[in-house]
């Protein structure tokens, strides 16, 4: 069913918790590391950290409250809420219901979690756009939020250097053709390869974490990353996916104003950029003050660009997510 309706992202807002994890604080207990080495390899100086009593739902709620305040959008008009997260407050009930209640969204709203991390934002944009274009809803609130330090605190040092906590909120709306100030959602493509599941995993984060354990013996969920395997996935699969996406979209590299990739780490991003022959000025790096925030990296970068009035009518962005699953996704956004 197509209605000729177009879906566009119209506002993006973000929330960064107040706590900070500096490189200096990370290296205190790891004599083999230096702050300079961390920044050179990861591109990260500081990450944000939640307070002990601050959870994923709080990150999403704070970001959405900012979105309503900045945009003036009436929350009563939200038809559907997506929350992209891999750090739900609890498995049951789903965290989007907590966010609906915290935001006092109407109970007529549809709400669901999307259990995706670094690939989640383009996925959710595509789903929101599909619902809008089919005529089923008009306004979708798309939140991303991950309290990833909950998994990274106990991880090995290489992982600890990457992750921070953050939440974002994006308004995806049904717009008239050519409506100003909007980013029309175009081509969306996806990929999944579960054979890579063990290379980016929190093995005890679900049912497997406690079935067969007593409560006291259950281990704290800890993030495990096989760096070489993930890098190999990025080189082989993600770069080919991006090339195919651009070809299908009939976009030359020079026709894209902003390549906004998942902000994994500087080493990986720079390798991808050089491999894809993308000029630096078209390639967004937004890592230094926030780190890798899982589901929130792409909208955080968009919020930062938007706050600086970077998007001009006629410009095009390509958003690319990739990570745990393995899972990958891309979305074209055209600004009007």
């Amino acid at each position: 069913m197509t209605t000729g309706r177009r879906a566009a992202l119209t506002h993006v807002a973000s929330y960064l918790p107040a706590g900070k994890i500096t490189n200096d604080s990370l290296v205190e207990n790891y004599p083999g590391w230096t702050s300079e080495k961390i920044e050179a390899k990861t591109g990260i100086r500081v990450r944000n950290r939640v307070a002990d009593d601050e959870f994923t739902s709080d990150l999403a709620i704070q970001a959405a409250e900012r979105l309503f305040e900045q945009s003036g959008f009436d929350r009563e008009q939200v038809d559907f809420l997506f929350l992209v997260t891999v750090t739900p407050d609890q498995i049951l009930p789903f965290t989007a219901s907590t966010v609906q209640n915290g935001l006092k969204l109407p109970t007529s709203v549809g709400a669901t979690d999307l259990s995706l991390a670094c690939s989640g934002y383009p996925y959710a944009l595509a789903m929101a756009a599909s619902m809008i274009e089919s005529g089923r809803v008009r306004n979708v609130l798309l939140c991303t939020a991950d309290r990833f330090t909950a998994y990274a605190d106990e991880a090995e040092m290489g992982s600890k250097t990457l992750f921070g906590d953050a939440g974002t909120a994006t308004l995806v709306q049904c717009v008239e053709p050519g409506a100003s100030g909007a980013g029309t959602i175009g081509l969306c493509r996806f990929g999944t390869d579960g054979s890579g599941a063990q290379h980016l995993i929190v093995p005890t984060s679900g049912i497997k974490g406690f079935v067969g354990h007593t409560t006291t013996s259950a281990s704290k969920p800890t993030f495990e990353m096989n760096g070489p395997e993930v890098f190999d996935f990025t080189i082989r699969t993600v770069s080919r996916f991006i090339a195919d996406f651009l070809a299908e979209a009939e976009l030359e590299v020079d026709a894209v104003d902003y390549f906004v990739f998942h902000q994994a780490n500087l080493f990986m991003l720079e390798h991808l950029r050089r491999r894809m022959k993308i000029p630096k000025e078209r390639f967004v790096i937004h890592l230094a003050e926030v780190g890798n925030t899982s589901s929130s990296t792409i909208p955080l970068a968009l919020a930062d660009l938007s706050a600086r009035n970077s998007f001009q009518p006629g410009q095009t962005a390509v958003l690319v997510g990739f990570g745990t699953g393995y899972s990958w996704s891309a979305t074209r956004v055209d600004f009007t």
């Binding site: 083999g32 290489g158 070489p228 050089r274």
Partner: protein, 77 residues
């Protein structure tokens, strides 16, 4: 890229002083041959020879010479 050029490039990637590495150098004797060092090698193989090397095969390499042979046998994309 010949073998000598590879050894020099690996020295640079692993931030080792020039002239230290030889084909016989045992990787585990190098402080910078850690998880980041492996990524540097993967990036080097990809950029210089357009070769992707299997991470599991890197894990069984013992010397610099083994890395060179692995790169030579790698799959070009």
């Amino acid at each position: 890229m010949d073998r000598n050029q590879f050894v020099a490039a690996l020295e640079s990637a692993l931030q080792i002083d020039k002239g230290i590495l030889t084909p016989e150098t045992v990787l585990d004797s190098l402080e910078s041959w850690d998880s980041l060092g492996v990524l540097e090698f993967q990036a080097l193989a990809d950029e210089e020879l357009n070769v992707q090397v299997e991470p599991t095969e890197i894990g069984v390499c013992r010397t610099v010479e083994d890395l060179w042979k692995l790169m030579q046998a790698g799959e070009k994309s």
